[in-house]
């Protein structure tokens, strides 16, 4: 008699109940506020970039900066307009690049590291682990959802920024965006921020799992992120075969490291046997060609990447960073398995 | 319905306290045949004692034929311990009241009367019934 009443009320309450979402509901509820704030910030940044693109392309059209000034003409007005552009938009572009460059650090330091470390530190993981879901699934949801959200956010932001930068990025040999040229804004363009965020998140998760405390995890992630960005920038130009120009030592000057829209990243001396020597500072010597001969060299070489290499370099670096992220993720998975009882 | 009072410091086993309180209620007519005893859940929700203790007490009462367990329904009183000879207005009670009056007039204090009663009780009911209380022990 009582059994029938119970089953009837149970059936009625099943109908009333919202859809069961399991562990994802818990993770969503936990990070609801942070997610809304992040979404608002993302919307604001997109709006700002939308405005920036409109303003920049408007300026370019107004002052006719799309077509370079012919050397034989009077370029004073053109140069003034370029200076005006850089004065108005140079800083804004710079800040946006900075923001995107720090996105991986942010992802690891404020999201992937703390989401795990805070639970392990405060003991709240015990509540989740002693319900009916396995710790492995809990880790997957706990890390998977925020990291997925971060990747989507980074993709949107990077795409919008790239879309805003592109119409002006190569104008006047890149002079228009001096300081945020393609090789200077490299980490803010294309797939770089997305791969970076993936790496930052994996690194943050690994650090959080290793140290198990919030503040040390944040500090550790930041330290490791900054430390690892150095070898990345060092190795970056060697990811794609460069264009090499050579010049004989008899000419007055070695090839210039500056100028144009190409990335001149390495200059040095060549020996008669075809070997390479470092720059050795001969350009500052009184007699350049004598200095070169004294080092046993007979010419100069210059390695550079023209703008056409941009896309290949971007994707090569993204692949490298993603591989590093994979190593960190594998470490995190190993650690998760160790932590799971 | 009865409500049990459990005294943890009394030294009397908890299940015996329940047995004694049910018997007392039967004697005083607070429980009559057909009455339902509170369920173990009701008792433990009020007294915070172990449910097995309540069930043990009920099993003891069942063994003595005072209550019976009806599966799915609960535990019910089978017979009363109320005696007409001991009810208010009975000759026995009137005689005792009269004796009490005389004892008081003779100058006996409450403790004196109590001791006297206990000693006469011991003489009158010598045997296993008299040792029930001392067999009690501290247990859950």
């Amino acid at each position: 008699m009582s059994a029938t009443t119970v089953s009837r009320t149970a059936a009625a309450s099943v109908v009333r109940r919202p859809r069961a979402l399991g562990i994802t509901w818990v993770v969503r509820r936990q990070h609801r506020t942070a997610a809304w704030i992040a979404l608002a910030v993302l919307a604001a940044l997109c709006a700002e970039l939308l405005w920036l693109r409109g303003a920049m392309t408007g300026y370019v059209a107004e002052h006719g900066l799309a077509v370079p000034c012919r050397p034989e003409g009077d370029c004073a007005a053109f140069t003034a307009a370029v200076d005006g552009f850089r004065l108005r938009y140079g800083d804004v572009l710079g800040y946006n690049v900075l923001l995107l460059e720090f996105l991986p650090l942010f992802a690891g330091m404020f999201v992937a590291g703390p989401v795990i470390a805070r639970e392990l530190e405060s003991g709240t993981y015990k509540v989740a682990w002693t319900q009916s879901v396995s710790p492995l699934r809990w880790f997957a949801a706990k890390l998977g959802l925020p990291v997925a959200a971060l990747l989507v956010g980074a993709s949107v932001l990077s795409a919008v920024f790239t879309w805003s930068w592109r119409p002006v990025g190569h104008l006047d040999d890149g002079l228009l965006v001096d300081g945020t040229r393609w090789y200077e804004a490299f980490d803010a363009l294309g797939p770089a921020p997305v791969a970076g965020v993936l790496f930052g998140a994996a690194l943050g998760a690994l650090t959080g799992l290793l140290v198990k405390r919030t503040l040390p995890a944040m500090a550790g992630t930041a330290f490791a992120c900054v430390l690892l960005s150095w070898p990345l920038t060092t190795v970056r130009p060697y990811l794609v075969d460069p264009v090499t120009t050579t010049r004989s030592a008899s000419s007055d000057y070695p090839p210039s490291l500056h100028g144009g829209d190409s990335w001149h990243y390495e200059r040095g001396m060549t020996t008669p046997s075809g070997g390479r020597l470092p720059d050795a500072g001969c350009i500052e010597a009184a007699g350049i060609s004598r200095c070169v001969t004294r080092h046993g060299a007979d010419g100069w070489y210059l390695d550079s990447h023209p703008p056409a290499h941009f896309r290949r370099l971007e994707w090569a670096q993204a692949g490298l960073v993603a591989a590093a992220a994979g190593v960190c993720a594998a470490g995190a998975l190993w650690r998760v398995r160790r932590l799971c009882p | 319905m009865v409500e049990f009072r459990i005294d943890r410091r009394s030294g009397v086993a908890t299940y015996l306290q329940i047995v004694q309180q049910v018997k007392q209620a039967l004697r005083l007519g607070l429980l009559a045949p057909g009455d339902k005893l509170p369920t173990a859940k009701e008792v433990v929700a009020a007294t915070a004692i172990n449910p097995n203790t309540v069930l043990k007490a009920y099993r003891e009462l069942d063994r003595e034929g005072l209550v019976e367990a009806r599966p799915g329904l609960g535990t019910f009183v089978r017979r009363s311990l109320a005696r007409p000879q001991a009810a208010a207005g009975s000759p026995l009670r009137a005689e005792l009241a009269d004796w009490m009056h005389r004892a008081r007039e003779a100058g006996l204090e409450r403790e004196d009367v109590s001791a006297l009663l206990a000693s006469v009780l011991e003489e009158g009911f010598d045997g296993p019934a008299g040792t029930t209380g001392t067999a009690a022990r501290e247990a859950t």
Binding site: T130 | V44, L55
Partner: protein, 312 residues
């Protein structure tokens, strides 16, 4: 409701040669015992005895270093065991930004097909708590109640409680014990309560597991353990123990002036002029804690069965 809640033949928890090591120290060592299903078991011992470690093992939060612990014959934390066990850790961690309603919703989301919303809501409502209150704003006692509601809602077959009453006032303590006992009565839940405060367990528990220094000292029905011991008081004659004690196991003997008080496991009647009585639970526990060299005692029901089978 008429049968006893414990089922002597079903095993809730069983440990065989169980050991847990933290770096260099053994938190538990060589622990073997059995807890029949449906019992309310007091897990007693001094601070640092290994009570919390034992409970976290049973909850599937930790792995043993050696030996084994099984819950209903399965590994704690296994997919078919985890849903049947509820655990309340000592610090009662809950998400402070959640409301009570959120916390119960979490219980439902994480225990699909098992969750009893009514039981959880009743436990919360009995404490006069509104479901919109934030966990972070609750007092320690109120948080304990919500944690208990989360545990009840899971409809566990084993309920593991680590120092559950530590931060409760006497009234809340009584209410909470009553709620626990009602849960045990209704669903025949096996309950293990770890505590070093004996007063909150006496009367509520019918099974006892005493551990000290990571080892099991006493295990079995409270009644049986008490009946197995005798408290003897008599004249103290000269140094050393009286000769008539030789055939019994003496747990502890203390001389005060000419009086000797001894707790013994009597093997037959004790000769001589001794006043014998059954010890109280407190006397039994204190004597064993004061005498760490006394041999451990496991009641027959607390002997692990797997070990017996392995030996046979």
């Amino acid at each position: 409701m008429t049968g006893l809640t414990f089922q002597p033949d079903r095993t809730a928890l069983e440990a065989v040669g169980l050991g847990v090591r933290f770096r260099r120290r053994w938190a538990l060592r060589d622990c073997s015992f059995r807890l029949p299903a449906g019992r309310v078991c007091a897990l007693v011992g001094p601070n640092g005895a290994g009570k919390s470690t034992l409970l976290s093992l049973a909850a599937g939060l930790r792995r043993p270093s050696e030996g084994s612990l099984t819950v209903f014959g399965g590994r704690p934390g296994a997919a078919d065991v985890r849903p049947r066990v509820a655990y309340l850790s000592q610090d009662k961690p809950l998400y402070p930004q959640f409301t009570i309603a959120d916390t119960l919703r979490m219980g439902r989301e994480l225990n699909p097909g098992r969750w009893d919303q009514g039981a959880a809501e009743r436990t919360v409502a009995d404490g006069g708590l509104s479901s919109g209150a934030r966990i972070g704003d609750l007092s320690g006692g109120q948080r304990t109640r919500v944690a208990l509601a989360l545990a009840f809602g899971k409809r566990p077959e084993v309920l593991l409680l680590d120092e559950p009453m530590a931060d409760l006032d006497p009234l809340a303590r009584h209410e909470m014990t009553a709620a626990l006992m009602a849960q045990a009565a209704e669903h025949a839940t096996t309950v293990v309560i770890a505590s070093h405060v004996l007063a909150e367990l006496e009367g509520a528990c019918d099974y006892l597991l005493l551990i000290a220094d990571g080892r099991v000292r006493l295990a079995g029905e409270v009644e049986d353990l008490l009946a197995a011991h005798t408290l003897l008081v008599g004249r103290h004659e000269g140094p050393g123990l009286p000769r008539e004690f030789a055939m019994h196991t003496v747990v502890e003997a203390r001389a005060t002036g000419r009086q000797l008080t001894a707790l013994v496991r009597a093997d037959g009647p004790v000769a001589g002029q001794w006043r014998a009585s059954e010890p109280s639970l407190e006397e039994l526990l204190l004597a064993h804690l004061r005498a760490p060299d006394a041999p451990p005692l496991l009641a027959p029901s607390a002997e692990p069965r797997r070990a017996l089978r392995a030996a046979a």
